[in-house]
């Protein structure tokens, strides 16, 4: 058991290393890096200043040296210094982590709560009204632009009905998080409804469910004792994968709702050409995703004994 856990955690390391290398390559090697970007904005920069900046940032060092430097810095938790504020990037990112996590988890809770429930009841009565309704809802949810959906929610519930605040973090309470979480969660919700339905239908046709019926169980017991857990194994996998796209979409939704998370910091930094901050944000998002995926893997191990013992 412990070995399995250790192996899952060890799996993260090479991926993270590759991501770091990729980010370094993207931002340090490709042309059009930040200094030329700065002058692009219509300001002329004194060549002397430019020279000083290049020196300061070590841009004239050979590539391997720069890479080694970058890796050592990242490994020691130093994500560089912001161009704009001259603060360490970690100081910028720090206060953003909690709001981002809160939003992503609130969205996922909504997605799991609604999606899994809909998919589950749809599968129990295939072809019924609830089935048709859920599946039409699911394909629509998958086709929605999450920020547009958020904009419509904002218009209806914040501006017209004035039930909820339209944007911002507020005091961090529930009212502010509802709209962004629903907007962000609608995509994964739709996908979860579909996969849950397929998973439950799959399990309902399994041999061991026939065995359960032959034991004289009521259909309700068959479902609660035997179907639910087996379907959950399939659903958990999807939940893990969905966190990735959720974090991508969070960037846009955070920006729309002026949510003070890592995503909106990333977008702002892109516009300010604050490349160290952008890199830091990407690294942070990837790290989140890897950690969550590892947790999901472990949840999987906890549910499925076939993995636990193999």
């Amino acid at each position: 058991m412990l070995i399995v856990i250790a192996r899952r955690i060890a799996n993260v390391v090479p991926t993270l290393a590759a991501v770091i290398a990729l980010i370094f390559l993207l931002f340090s090697v490709l042309p059009g890096s930040f200094i030329s970007g700065m002058s692009e904005e219509g300001r002329t920069i004194d060549p002397a200043v430019m020279e000083r900046m290049r020196k300061e940032m070590g841009l004239d060092d050979p590539l391997p040296t720069r890479f080694a430097k970058y890796v050592t810095h990242v490994a020691t938790g130093d994500l560089g210094t912001s161009f704009r504020t001259r603060e360490p990037v970690t100081t910028l990112i720090g206060p953003r982590i909690w709001p981002s996590l809160k939003l992503v988890f609130a969205a996922m809770t909504f997605a799991i709560g609604v999606g899994v429930t809909l998919g589950f009841f749809a599968a129990l009565k295939p072809g019924s009204l609830i089935d048709t309704f859920s599946m039409v809802g699911a394909i629509s949810g998958l086709s929605l632009s999450q920020f547009w959906f958020g904009l419509m929610l904002m218009y209806l519930f914040a501006l017209k009905l004035q039930w909820l605040p339209s944007f911002g973090y507020g005091d961090g309470g529930l009212t502010h998080i509802i709209l962004p979480a629903v907007a962000l969660g609608v995509g994964p919700m739709a996908l979860l409804a579909r996969t849950t339905r397929a998973a439950v239908l799959d399990v309902l046709n399994a041999d061991f469910v026939r065995t359960a019926r032959s034991k004289g169980m009521s259909e309700r017991r068959v479902v609660t004792w035997h179907v639910l857990r087996n379907a959950l194994v399939l659903v958990v996998t999807i939940v893990g994968l969905q966190f990735g796209s959720l974090m991508g979409q969070a960037v846009v939704v955070e920006k729309l709702f002026a949510w003070p998370g890592i995503g909106s910091l990333m977008v702002d930094s892109v516009f300010q050409r604050d490349m160290p901050a952008v890199q830091g944000c990407i690294l942070m998002i990837v790290l989140f995703f890897l950690v969550i995926n590892t947790l999901v893997d472990l949840a999987y191990v906890a549910i499925d004994p076939r993995i636990r013992y193999s």
């Binding site: 399994a206 041999d207 061991f208 026939r210 065995t211 359960a212 019926r213 032959s214 034991k215 004289g216 169980m217 009521s218 259909e219 017991r221 004792w225 035997h226 857990r229 087996n230 194994v233 549910i303 499925d304 004994p305 076939r306 013992y309």
Partner: protein
């Protein structure tokens, strides 16, 4: 109490597809006495498994019961309500399935899967039920049952899993056990052990057996009476001894000739095992007349046009062939 334990009368099972409705099983009748072992034999696809499922009330779309009566202990059960079926299944009629690999829930310890029976049918609480599950495992001769009850199905061998299935099926001492190819998926060496165990336990509990198999030899060993099914119909039914000594239907003869026999090689020389040529017709393409006629060596014109009726044989036997004899 009088009369047989189970009487199936003129059973019809329909297969509904979008295009048409077919009779997957037709005019099937048989009786099983209390404590008797009865065999149902045929190639795969002949309707024996769905006949068994109909006795459990477990037919699911696209299959459905379209006619006939199923009588358990003088009581018609074919139209039983959902709640009535629930009290019959597991408690009075139990079933063992072919695939021990997939017939057990992979995420649930086997002990719990046995214990469920006591909770469902005897109102036991879980602690009590787990103790009795351990006893049940001991009865089916699983070594160190106190450890095995916590095992998951994937940790057990195929033979052990089938023992667990037997423990589940016999947990409530049912009156009838339906065994659908219980040993087909197992190693040959394990097969005999499982069959012996099943026969022994059923004899001890007075449980009747409906044994379903494609293996006529296995069934004849275990059962007093045997029915042979072909393409949805019973084509011959006799005592096991009689069917081996004097098979009346060409299909039964074919099944017997295709069995390998120990010790006969020396007498007859190196004779090939005989197979029945051709395959079981698909349900949508049953031939007219006798359904066996395209594969029959003794076929004549009447076989192609007229469906043969039942001819009674001595000792409650029957055969469905124009040229029986």
């Amino acid at each position: 109490m009088s009369g047989p334990l189970l009487r199936v009368e003129d059973l019809h099972i329909a297969l509904k597809t979008e295009a048409a409705t077919y009779n997957a099983v037709e005019k099937v009748s048989f009786e099983i006495g209390r404590g008797e072992a009865f065999g149902l034999v045929g190639e795969s696809g002949c309707g024996k498994s769905i006949t068994a499922l109909s006795v459990m009330g477990l037919l699911r779309r696209p299959l459905s019961l379209s006619g006939g009566r199923i009588i358990l202990d003088n009581e018609e059960i074919q139209d039983a309500s959902v709640a009535e079926w629930r009290r019959l299944r597991g408690k009075r009629i139990a079933m063992i399935f072919q695939e021990p690999m997939t017939a057990l829930n992979p995420l649930s310890p086997v002990g719990r899967q046995i214990a469920e029976m006591f909770v469902l049918h005897q109102g036991a609480n879980w602690n009590e039920a787990m103790d009795r599950a351990e006893d049940a495992l001991r009865q089916v001769q699983v070594p160190s049952p106190e450890r095995r009850i916590k095992d998951f199905p994937h940790q057990l061998s195929g033979g052990m899993r089938q023992r667990v299935m037997i423990a589940i099926a016999l947990a409530c001492s049912p009156e009838l056990l339906i065994a659908d190819e219980p040993t087909t998926a197992l190693d040959v060496t394990v097969q005999a052990e499982i069959i012996d165990l099943m026969a022994e336990l059923c004899a001890a509990k007075g449980t009747a057996i409906l044994m379903i198999s494609h293996d006529l030899g296995l069934v004849a060993n275990m059962c007093r009476r045997v029915a042979v099914m072909y393409a949805g119909r019973i084509v011959e039914q006799q005592d096991a001894d009689a069917i081996f000594a004097a098979p009346r239907h060409p299909y039964t003869q074919g099944l017997i000739n295709s069995l390998p026999r120990l010790g006969e090689r020396s007498r007859r020389g190196r004779q090939r095992l005989q197979e029945i040529t051709g395959v079981v017709p698909s349900i949508a393409g049953y031939p007219s007349g006798c359904r066996f006629n395209p594969r029959c060596a003794a076929v004549t014109d009447i076989c192609r046009s007229v469906s043969p009726e039942i001819t009674p044989l001595p000792a409650d036997g029957l055969v469905r062939c124009h040229h029986h004899g």
